[in-house]
């Protein structure tokens, strides 16, 4: 039998006999013979567990992990320390192997963690309500845009070019059926130039007024992009302000809500999730009270049970696809609950002062490395606006080549980026990077550039 099927041959024989059947073939009599496969699947035979483990170890060892390739790449994916307690608690099988809390009486564990998670996200974003997760930062942005088009009935968007380019691509892909008119608003020296998008621009008249103004701060180039200007543009156009924020930097920076965002979205990976080749990550979403009924996916609310004890349950369920079907504003069902559980543990572990210290340590490292890089011959800032923990520099050598050569030196040097038609290297520093690692990076980069 297959390795995780408990049935013995006798079990199968007895069960078939009970059903009045002769062989397992008979179970599939409803499948027309013309559709039945003659041979088996063209896949290898199953392996015993130790062989599976060995094959997985072989594949894993064919990758250069961040231990060997010291990570200075970010772009929405950050190499933070993950404490043992986060791994241990988020790895508990009660959280790992449960389903969506459809029976709240036996799902108070996941429900309460999600309620605490929603509270934490709401506080980070500075907005009163948050949902229980969507897939990742990119799809959180798409969901926020869908909220805005539903709220306003408009189909145009003004999107800052400071928003992660991969997120913008996902937005374009997933809204292809909705005929949205996206106006991309350029950055000048790292900061979005909202002037001129409204009024004068010829694009505007036929696009119509926007459903949302979308901005990221810190943006993809690492720059603090003042939300005030974006809020003013949104208010003038009668649009929602959607702000993508860095939840780590929110330990230091004013929150999106405080600066007038209607919906805030973030990539939650930095809170306890590994780099993991890009997933599973965590789409965080928070909004003003006015938009709570348009938030996608699950919302956990507090209530009571029959005897008046405090209890938690998924609520405003009538928004969701299983009830609203084709009228639902989102199709999300399976989400990223376990990653939200992980983030809740990590945020509780960090605590109020720990989050601030985390952000500060990242910013200090970024300042140190940036200064060192700018002291190398031919290295210049790509943009000048103030940054927190990620920054872009122009190099005198082709970026792809630098990344390849630095990998030979034992570093993932950063990501190629583009700003104002110029190529650059986007570098991220986390609290995990030591001065010694950065000094070694600078020495290698010096060699590579010379």
């Amino acid at each position: 039998m297959a390795p995780y099927v408990p049935h013995t041959a006798q079990d199968v024989a007895r069960m078939l006999a009970d059903l009045g059947l002769v062989s397992t073939e008979d179970l599939f009599s409803c499948v027309p013979p013309a559709l039945r496969l003659a041979g088996g699947l063209d896949l290898p035979q199953g392996l015993p567990e130790p062989d599976v483990a060995a094959e997985m170890a072989r594949l894993a060892s064919a990758n250069r992990a961040a231990t060997e390739l010291v990570c200075f790449a970010g772009g929405g994916s950050y190499d933070h320390d993950v404490p043992a307690v986060t791994r241990a608690l988020a790895g508990r099988s009660e959280f790992v192997t449960s389903y969506t809390p459809y029976q709240p009486e036996v799902a108070q564990g996941v429900l309460q963690v999600l309620f605490e998670y929603q509270t934490l996200v709401s506080r980070l974003a500075g907005l009163p309500v948050a949902n229980a997760s969507v897939y990742d930062g990119a799809t959180a942005l798409v969901e926020a845009v869908n909220m805005a088009t539903a709220a306003t009935g408009r189909r145009a968007l003004w999107v800052s070019e400071g928003v992660n380019p991969r997120w913008r691509e996902v937005l374009a892909t997933l809204t292809a059926g909705q005929a949205l008119a996206v106006v991309e608003v350029p950055l000048i020296d790292g900061i979005t130039r909202w002037e001129g998008v409204a009024g004068g621009a010829e694009g505007q008249s036929h696009e119509g007024p926007p459903a949302a103004v979308v901005v990221a701060s810190p943006n993809y180039l690492g720059c603090i992009d003042p939300l005030g200007a974006a809020r003013a543009a949104a208010t003038e156009a009668g649009a929602l302000l959607i702000a993508a924020f860095d939840p780590v930097a929110s330990g230091l920076l004013r929150s999106a809500g405080q600066q007038g965002a209607d919906v805030a979205v973030a990539e939650g990976q930095p809170f306890g999730s590994r780099l993991a080749f890009g997933g599973p990550y965590l789409g965080m979403m928070a909004a003003t009270q006015a938009h709570v009924r348009r938030l996608p996916g699950r919302l956990v609310g507090q209530t009571v049970d029959r005897s008046g004890r405090s209890a938690y349950v998924t609520t405003l369920r009538a928004r969701e696809q299983d009830i609203r079907r084709e009228k639902a504003s989102s199709n999300i069902c399976t989400n990223q609950t376990l990653v939200a559980v992980t983030a809740m543990v990590q945020l509780a572990w960090l605590g109020t002062t720990g989050l601030r210290e985390l952000a500060l340590r990242c910013a200090r490292g970024a300042r140190y490395l940036r200064q060192g890089m700018l002291a190398l011959p031919g290295v210049k800032p790509l943009v000048g606006a103030p940054m927190v923990r990620e920054f872009a520099v122009a190099l005198p050598v082709a970026i792809d080549l630098v990344v390849e050569r630095m990998a030979d030196e034992g570093f993932l040097a950063g990501l190629p980026v583009e700003a104002g038609g110029q190529e650059g290297l986007l570098v991220a520093v986390t609290e995990k990077r030591t001065k010694a690692e950065m000094d070694a990076y600078l020495e290698s980069l010096g060699k590579v550039l010379s």
């Binding site: 009660e94 790992v96 969506t100 036996v106 108070q108 780099l275 997933g279 340590r361």
Partner: protein
């Protein structure tokens, strides 16, 4: 049959007290965090960040010691049902056992600690795995090529429908509607709308199947395609699928396979053989990726060779020298995920496929179907079976006409009473076409002893009658939860709860 492995009635769920929130457990200044020694200069925040961007104080989080955090989370975990605790017969959700070897594989540093932008030459193990998995999924479905980016089934649906749209557009067509059976899962119509199509619901016939005669009424030049799962959500095999496919194709549409139920047919038949063009798979169902309390999952999309140029990119390809590289499909619809999808879920699925192999996957489907049939044979006579044909991997019964209950036995109450008997409840009130539906999917990983005990518990509930069931559950960490109140007095955060003031705990 006295010691069924999947029955959790002995679970030591301690007491009936409330667990305080982590915020109530907090004390000012307490913290667990510690940071590594780095030697980096200790500039102050004011030296690093412009003053007008700095917040005056950090956002308030919890303030707890590591010990208290561990106790809190561990107590919460004791208030949570899981597959590891016992049987979880939620229909459509496929709550099978999740092998531990897959967890260990996903935790390997060579997978978990790799940045997604690592150049392909330094991530050959990752690319080989993604390539191997995409190929295996194509073999199981009969399709030509697959993207692994979509992070769940619903995301796969939208991806697949956008591929459908791009294919029509490439031919200069823009049909406006997609057909789905009335028994379809809610994500199907929701995805159809997001893809810019109109949903047209096709009624099931008296056997619970799509009938070509009914279908004909809906087919015209405006049909972009049809979404189906097979077996369908009633657990029944759409016997006339080939004819259905031909009709849809003749009308110029494509046939979309919702792979949520692929676990019934691996190695038995393939979506491609049935005539499907686009398939999404739920790796968190069929391929044993754990559900994580509601996610993450993975929803790869596989398509025919003809459609493969529209897939989201980048995709992994293999060079003649055996190395792997990223390539962009010629007319890609674009990315559907920020990076490469829920990659660690993909690792687990690959380990599961390696464990089972060709034979094993077929045996998985056989045992799933055997268990569902055997369970139903025990329930017949007490629970009404709305459609007569033998089920595949799951079965839908109605509680409405259980003998001796005067039509009073409600599916919801049966579900709650079952909790008291040591089992998680089945899915209730889905599919919508069956009144008082219990949708039961035992999965292949439950033993016959567990299935028998589950059946006995369900039969006992019907015998006890509607009044007893309506009082349940009382042995669980909390009793029947007041959902209406949750929606009426919306309390989504601890801050909102505090603003509401005390009294949440007082009897309403």
């Amino acid at each position: 049959m006295t010691a069924p492995g999947g029955r959790a009635v002995s679970a030591p769920l301690l007491g009936h007290g409330e667990e305080p929130t982590v915020f109530e457990l907090s004390a000012p200044g307490r913290r667990a965090a510690s940071f590594r020694t780095t030697g980096v200069p200790e500039w102050s925040a004011e030296e690093l960040i412009p003053a007008d961007e700095l917040r005056s104080e950090p956002p308030a989080l919890a303030e707890v010691s590591e010990r208290d955090l561990v106790a809190h989370m561990t107590r919460l975990s004791h208030r949570q049902y899981s597959v590891d605790l016992g049987a979880y017969p939620l229909g459509s959700c496929t709550m099978k056992y999740n092998p531990k070897v897959c967890d260990e594989a996903a935790a390997l540093e060579g997978f978990a600690n790799v940045h997604p932008a690592t150049p392909a030459s330094h991530a050959q193990g990752w690319l080989e795995l993604l390539w191997g998995l995409a190929h295996a999924l194509c073999e199981v479905t009969g399709m030509g090529r697959a993207t692994l980016q979509p992070p769940a089934g619903a995301a796969g649906e939208l991806t697949g429908l956008l591929i459908m749209r791009a294919w029509h557009q490439a031919q200069g067509r823009s049909p406006g509607k997609v057909l789905i059976p009335d028994s379809a899962h809610g994500t199907n119509p929701a995805s159809v709308s997001l893809a810019g199509y109109q949903t047209v619901s096709v009624e099931s016939d008296e056997r619970g199947l799509v009938s070509p005669d009914v279908l004909r009424k809906y087919l015209d030049g405006d049909v972009a395609g049809m979404m189906l799962t097979n077996p369908n959500t009633l657990g029944l095999f759409e016997e006339r699928i080939v004819e259905v496919g031909r009709l849809v194709h003749d009308a110029g549409g494509l046939l979309y396979y919702d792979g949520a139920n692929l676990n019934a047919i691996m190695g038995i038949t393939k979506p491609a053989v049935m005539g499907f063009d686009i398939v999404h798979l739920n790796l968190h169902k069929t391929f044993a990726v754990p559900h994580g309390g509601g996610g993450p999952g993975a929803g790869p999309v596989a398509v025919t060779t003809e459609l493969s140029e529209f897939l989201p990119g980048p995709l992994v390809a293999r060079a003649d020298d055996g190395t792997f590289y990223w390539e962009q499909p010629a007319r890609s619809i674009g990315r559907t995920h920020g990076w490469h999808g829920n990659a660690l879920a993909l690792v687990r699925a690959w380990a599961y496929i390696l464990s089972n192999g060709s034979e094993g996957l077929r045996q998985v489907s056989e045992a799933a179907v055997l268990n569902a049939n055997w369970l139903l044979s025990r329930l017949r006579g007490t629970y009404a079976v709305p459609y007569g044909s033998p089920p595949m991997h799951e079965t839908v019964v109605s509680t409405k006409d259980a003998p001796g209950t005067n039509g009073q036995l409600r599916a919801l109450d049966v579900a709650k009473r079952l909790l008291e008997k040591g089992f998680h409840a089945p899915t209730v009130y889905f599919p919508l076409v069956v009144a008082e539906a219990l949708m039961i999917e035992p999965t292949e990983t439950e033993s016959p002893e567990t299935i028998a005990a589950l059946a006995d518990a369900l039969l006992e509930i019907a015998r006890e009658g509607a009044e007893v069931a309506a009082l349940a559950p009382t042995t669980t960490p909390v009793g029947r939860v007041d959902e209406a109140r949750a929606a009426r007095r919306l309390v989504l955060t601890w801050d909102a709860a505090r603003a509401e003031g005390p009294g949440v705990s007082a009897p309403a």
